[in-house]
């Protein structure tokens, strides 16, 4: 068990001053080629690596970025992380992931423990708790301290920072319009409670699409789900009380659950009822029938968010203007919808 070697030890061993060693290792040209060679050889032999904590303290930057997400067991967030990791690593940053578990309190605690020097900047997607409470003081504090913050997906207008989002309203509009084009006339909406930003926006898109075609919005065709656990119950109630020939759901899970219920009740998909979900993940591909779905391109969202953050950290961005990047969505057609003739 040989502990990591330090500059001090090398310096003593070779009887060269510590600062000369430091420079020699980094191949500073003001050090003679002789000593450089000697020091580098010794360093390599003993497998010297600069202690990153010391470097962080010295440089006042850690090369770590903090990511706060509501849940990790969501395929969408997973793909976002994948994208973040990819660009962060390629630019020499590590990723510290914290889960808020949809709780306001956990989100605050997580951010507070990271803000004290552990990271150089934040990437955050708000918890439901925070969105319900509308309390953003923790975000403001972080910004006040001059720490860059990029919000993604679940963002909020009240905070002035860089953001990466999908045009949820537009995407929902297109999905519902597609259902209408394929002949659906009564389209049910399975969404979340209103305080979840993306749920609300997608609901708006749904309504716009209907309005555009002059189809009245029937409140009874909409269900707003709070807890994922009891979504089956609510969806069953919807089937009990209403008739419809199309379903638009704000995530793939709701859509797939609804499809299973529909099939159990003897409906043919897509002949009797068509389905479109949001978040194109494995579930959409593997469902039977496979689910037409709006791809949010999470990986891309992660990549862009990380790039925005790191650019700002490295001051490649103007200090005061904040951008909002909008990721294009794609409607992926599969078996759960009729084909446009």
């Amino acid at each position: 068990m040989k502990k990591l070697v330090t500059l001090k030890q090398i310096s003593k061993e070779l009887d060269i001053s510590i600062s000369t060693v430091s420079k020699a290792i980094r191949n500073h040209k003001e050090i003679s080629l002789d000593t450089r060679k000697k020091v580098q050889a010794f360093a390599k032999l003993h497998n010297y690596r600069p202690n990153s904590i010391a470097v962080s303290l010295k440089n006042q930057r850690t090369k770590n970025i903090g990511v706060i997400i509501p849940e990790i067991v969501h395929h969408f967030f997973t793909t976002v992380i994948e994208g973040i990791e990819k660009v962060a690593n390629s630019r020499g940053y590590n990723v510290i992931v914290c889960l808020s578990s949809e709780s306001f309190e956990k989100e605050v605690v997580n951010m507070q423990t990271l803000v004290n020097g552990s990271i150089d900047g934040f990437l955050v997607s708000l918890s439901k708790g925070t969105q319900a409470k509308k309390d953003y003081h923790h975000l403001n504090e972080v910004m006040d301290q001059g720490m860059p913050l990029v919000m993604f997906d679940r963002v909020v207008d009240d905070i002035d920072c860089d953001k990466t989002i999908v045009d949820d309203t537009q995407a929902a509009f297109e999905a519902v319009s597609f259902l209408l084009e394929t002949g659906c006339r009564k389209i049910a909406l399975i969404t979340t409670v209103d305080y979840v930003s993306v749920g609300k926006l997608r609901t708006e898109g749904y309504e716009k699409a209907l309005q555009k075609q002059g189809i009245p919005i029937e409140p009874n065709l909409t269900i707003k789900i709070e807890d994922i656990e009891n979504c089956e119950i609510l969806i069953n109630q919807l089937f009990d009380s209403q008739h419809f020939d199309g379903v638009f759901a704000v995530n793939e899970y709701f859509a797939v659950v609804a499809m299973k219920i529909a099939q159990k009740r003897g409906f043919k998909i897509p002949d009797d009822i068509s389905f479109i979900g949001f978040t194109d993940g494995i579930l959409s591909k593997c469902a039977t029938p496979s689910l037409s779905s709006i791809a949010q391109h999470g990986t891309e969202m992660g990549e862009i968010s990380a790039k925005m953050l790191i650019d700002r950290l490295e001051e490649k961005e103007d200090e005061f203007t904040h951008l909002t990047q909008i990721i294009k969505t794609t409607l992926v057609e599969r078996e759960s919808t009729k084909r446009l003739s």
Copy 2:
């Protein structure tokens, strides 16, 4: 934009020595109650938080743990991370996640960049690349430096460290035995290439179960998949060339893909063919028919792994004995298998 306040600033502001401030803030009883109150009030007012980098450098411990996983877009690994996060956070640790993307090189680089002071210990699950190469020098180096290492799920015998695994062989044995009990006689196996440790172990369990019932092992009933991308092709070939009444797959994705293909070919599940998968995730629940599956309890694996690591970091564990914790699996029966009468 007010930067974080430091001890030095407080000390200057209050005209008290820096060390007194430090002690006062931590409520050291050797400081008079008066100054303690005063300092603490000032600290709270200015929202003082000790700089964690400085503390890390001083204490030679970071309260960070590094997690290296092959992929994050796998439901199983996601649940493991969830478990790790849960216990890490509750014990005051942050989690730094790195993805090896199944590549040996990335795994090595990731570990090297974290080992230099960023973290106190490692939690790793090997990449396919590493398992194929059988090169574990990076793991040994970490151990040599005295940095605790816990391996989970994809482990290897050659490294002497704490481990958390599932009894893959036994679990596969039970799954296949179950298929046999429900009347299957020709059971196909969809597995990975042999160098993936868990794939190999599950294959062994499959063979044992057949042997126990005196059923000959037919090599043609087994397919070993390397790239997930072309699994459909291989599975289709299997259906083309063989007849069977049961399928055991080493993950839920293979199982679900196989079910879809079977249904397309007109087979009834489970009447004509029964299916069991490994890794009980959303896919198993949402498939049509829902898939009987072996639950690996990833969250629990994450929790236990993190606990082992942190216990060792905090020296609650004997220095030299290494444990291997085995997580019990559960066979979750769903619609893809016949019921035992």
